[in-house]
Amino acid sequence: MIRFEKVALFYGEKAVLQDMDLHIPPGAHVALTGPSGCGKTTVLSLTAGLLRPAAGEVRVRANKLAYAFQEHRLLPWRTAAENVNLVLGDTAATLPLARHWLDMMGIADGADLLPAELSGGMRQRVNLARALARDGDLLLLDEPLKELDPDRRGSVLSLLREHAAGRTVLLATHDREETDALAEKVLVYRDGRFLPL
């Protein structure tokens, strides 16, 4: 469950969010859309506890949170498999499971490569594999298909849809294909707030 009550957030003088209310019940799949810089990622960061609101209250009830970041955020000194394994307990015993998730994402070949040796699209798939491997009941997805090759998008999207079942999903995107496939409800940015489409 995610609940925002009268949330405001500023970057310097600029108000990114003002008096924002949001309620996402457990198991709901909600997408936030709007132009770049409107605050979609900010809402995800507030939900993840990475930012604190200047005013209002953010309440999140989830046992485990998984977050597929827009910027990958992979440890550059660890291989793809080791990056995924990090959220699985980081032991030798859990490494096969990390490889399994990479295999599901279609990058088994890149499992032993460092992020710098992977393409942008492959790094994004490692990022997604890490989020899915986390097995969280709340899944935050920030532009999940960004940088993916067109021929990969379909398979990754169906994997995400399959994984999203029974979990709460908050998605930030510009992409109509993503909202259609993953969200039951779409909120569009208007005048400092996200309002139903």
Binding site: L50, R73, L75, A92
Partner: protein
Amino acid sequence: MRRSATTAKSLGALAFWVGVWALLAVLVNRPLLLPAPWAVAARLIRLSGTADFWHVTAVSLGRIMLGAALGVLAGVATAVATGRYRFLNTVLSPLLSVIRATPVASFILLALIWVGRDILPCLIVFLMVLPVVWGNVSVGVAATDRQLLEMARVYRLSRWQIAKRVYGPSVGPYLLSACHTSLGLAWKSGVAAEVLTMPALSIGRRLYESKLYMEMTDLFAWTVMVVTCSILLEKLFTALIRHLGRRRSMGGQGL
């Protein structure tokens, strides 16, 4: 192939400077002022045949390395603490700046009043190494990618995991660079402290006594020993780092 060429060049440069030294010694022709390299080499060989020589070297080395190791540990701990708590940074920064700017000789003379002469070189090395490590590691901690730290927070990695998996590799190069710099600094300041405090078993005492009794060949022989130890320590450290780097890249997971 390239490595052997580099070694040959280094040996060539060394031979050149020994040649310059030999030429000067012949021109000056006063062993009390400048002994010839062959006389120093002969004395060094004779000294190295005695148990006392190795005993003194080992004790000095141990004393200096203990001070350096404690300085590294304290430097890392201080950097972590000042990175974590801003008020500690405010409190400790001036103190560390003062330590950094104070001449070694002032520390030695002051500390002579407070601590025993056997411990003093160790303390001096500690004080020389600490600010170098603290400064470098602090830069490393501050340069650690915030986004990676946020990722670690979101995925609820333990403090130990964050230290090992995020801070460790990020700060590691800064720490290694500090250790590399500290090694030479420790050795030089440690021997200087020994010269002024003269613990019974120390290279510094042997250097001072050589000067006192005008045994210039001994003074040069001990100096050669100090330089050799410094170079060997640096090579050993570089080899160790290379070995660890290789193990890391081969081990991958490093569990």
